[in-house]
Symmetry: C2
Subunit: 443 residues, 2 copies
């Protein structure tokens, strides 16, 4: 039986066990006994988009500070302990969630759980650690964003796409605001959002529901829930202009043409989101996709092209068409070729063959995802943190199976039609080397 | 003696009398006895840029509500009383200030002053007035912005120019946020910002300092000062991309090409601001200006072109180059012609003749401004509300006189050079009819 046939039977992908402690902590256990190891993740339903205006970067700064001293742990002791036990740990911050994880031998699960519970409500970094960590995040911004033209470009595309919405502010923060972040700012953010009733614990690996339940009850169970504010974000107004962003940068070797669209997230519109996921596979998914065949193979206008869609987002999500023009090809030619492909899509839709292939490929990927420990933990984490249910995740291959060609045509027409006016118009961007500036801006 | 010689003598333009009450109310009296009338204005040092995120439009909503019932006055009674006494009154809101004024026979000054003082701390509109006034501001937005392509265009240009800064939000507010504004929101704003120590009273007309002082002391003097928060606005990050905004609208008959620059306000940099004021006169001031002569008269590329600079702004101000392309002239041609003029300016600067003519014209305008009652009151109001001093205003012609050709060259180079990279790059916009859309977006 081919893997893809699997999904049609309505079987769960991960067979995760889920339950909740009395203090509101949601728990997902994904048993996997291939090796005596475990991935332990805590996801908080808070991210950069929940920051106060003018305090950009505080979510990410707080993530860093979580390693700098908590109940019973000296600064740096958390990670040092994990490493000394043969494991590894890290954390990351998005617009909508912040997550902490450790991968470690199963016998040390209790230890990492104890440490993680300790920093859920008991952060108290020494002030000199706060000062030095601020330097670290500023350096991180310099390295990853300020010295990276693609990041600078994305940041400005984002600001243009998300007017009056926090997604227009970069996760890492604006440098001049980061410089002024204090422990008081971090503590306000922490006290407001970090608590068991705003967290999801995901444990995958050589454990049973029973073991995790007992251990989590003992370790996390005594933490008091917090009073959670609503997730209140500003909303973008309808804007009908066509924004464009051109960035010339001396470090650019390969020009980029990008168009970013605002499209529904899974939380906002599950049906459309599923159709967009299949559309992504057909139009932009690798060397057999429509865009690639047309722009790279047939027309030789671009050396690479992709269309990518992110389903996991609390508010409006993003779909990005990204292309690298072939030498001597003007970015406008690429734009026109992309629009031409989109017009075909909007007019004729997709074929049943394309649909079948895309579904198979997506469903197979879901099955392969089961093999790792961190993969499924990630899927549950970002899914649950952005409004999906456990069933949405378990039966995702079934949901993908139900997407029709008509649905794909419909989302293409409603969100990607180059001849339609949108309330939140896509932003077109060119990232170009400095040397061709004169040629580009003149006729 | 020509008018322009006047300025060189270091004479005050308005001979205004200024003083302050104990409660912090700043008072400016501009005696003018041509007619037995008076203009009475109260300026609050608060505007749309001081709003809380997500509450856009509250400053302007509050301005409307100020007419809807206060201590001793029924809704609508304020304006009705002014009209019944043969006067007229109105109000306006900007990003940085909100002002209320009445023009009336001098014998009724006490009456309007009493009413104005009554609404400085005693607003209490009935809730049904709040509800109906919200409909009024929404309708105002529909009429003036949503149905007006130039306003829609400006709004989006502003959002692109002022990333992460409140000037990127329109003064009237975003429709979806205005819909949700409540009396509680307005009251919070009012209690925070409306008080004698955040206001400037300007009286111009057939009055003496003595009369106004005595009357103001009696009427405004008993109002208690409020605890004022700092004017804390978010700051735009440096962004090096070149943003562009294209808006096609069916109601556009005449296309527009616009480029908006962020430049210092008078408060931020008096010297540069004065140079920009003279530059504005030389480059963009009417049919004898450089832009007009080049683009309209000589090259016949545009039917009109202007460069306008606003000195009165709390934070970064704006300089706008605006042109209407002649029939069949592509907007890019206009852009190139503007850039070419700017390159000349940056390279060669201006001539002494141009400088002399511009100064004379500006200084003459200042002298003529003395003739009206409301003109000088306006000048003091927006000047003082955005950080200028009384002397800055009185000796403005002298200050203009001191601007050198070198200073103008310097501001042109630092703020308008088309080949320079700016931390806050200018935004280029095209406002175009819908019918030419296909031709415009294709090669």
């Amino acid at each position: 039986m081919p893997l893809s046939a699997y999904a049609q039977q309505g079987t769960k992908v991960f067979n995760a066990e889920t339950f909740k402690l009395d203090n509101g902590l949601e728990i997902v256990v994904i048993p996997n006994n291939r090796a005596p190891i475990v991935t332990h993740m805590v996801w908080y339903r808070v991210g950069a988009a929940d920051e106060t205006t003018g305090k950009s970067g505080i979510a990410h700064f707080m993530e860093h500070l979580m390693f700098k001293g908590s109940t019973g742990l000296a600064p740096g002791e958390f990670s040092k302990t994990v490493r000394s036990l043969g494991g590894n740990d890290n954390a990351f911050t998005s617009q909508d969630y912040t997550a902490y994880y450790q991968s470690i031998a199963v016998e040390h699960l209790e230890k990492v759980m104890t440490m993680e519970a300790g920093r859920m409500r008991g952060m108290a970094p020494p002030l000199e650690e706060v000062e030095s960590e601020r330097k670290v995040i500023l350096e991180e911004r310099r390295q990853r964003t300020d010295n990276n033209p693609q990041s600078r470009f994305s940041e400005q595309m984002g600001a243009a796409l998300y007017v009056n919405h926090p997604y227009g502010t970069p996760i890492i923060g604006w440098f001049h605001e980061m410089e002024k972040l204090t422990w008081e700012d971090a503590k306000n953010f922490y006290d407001k959002w970090y608590g068991p009733n705003n967290a999801i614990l995901v444990v995958s690996g050589a454990v049973t529901r029973q073991q995790v339940h007992e251990m989590a009850q003992r370790i996390y169970g005594s933490l008091q829930p917090i009073t959670l504010p609503p997730r209140q974000r500003t909303i973008s107004p309808p804007l009908h202009g066509q924004p464009k962003m051109i960035l010339h940068h001396p470090a650019v070797r390969q020009p980029v043409v990008q168009r970013s669209y605002r499209v529904p997230s899974y939380r906002q519109n599950a049906k459309d989101s599923l159709a967009l996921q299949v559309l992504e596979e057909i139009v932009g998914g690798g060397p057999t996709s429509r865009f690639y065949k047309s722009l790279v193979v047939d027309q030789k206008l671009a050396t690479t092209v992709s269309l990518s869609y992110r389903a996991e987002s609390w508010d409006d999500s993003i779909l990005i068409v990204h292309a690298a023009p072939a030498p001597d090809i003007h970015p406008e030619k690429i734009e026109q070729a992309i629009e031409s492909e989109l017009r075909k899509l909007v007019k004729d839709g997709i074929t049943e063959d394309e649909l079948r292939d895309a579904k198979t490929s997506l469903q197979d990927a879901a099955i392969y995802a089961r093999d790792s420990l961190s993969g499924p933990a990630m899927i549950f984490g970002y899914g649950l943190a952005t409004g999906a249910s456990v069933d949405d995740i378990e039966y995702w291959p079934d949901q993908i199976e139900k997407v029709s060609a008509q649905q794909i045509l419909s989302v293409a027409q409603r969100y990607l039609d180059p001849d339609q006016k949108f309330d939140h118009p896509p932003v077109t961007g060119y990232l170009l080397p400095v040397i061709v500036q004169e040629e580009e801006t003149k006729e």
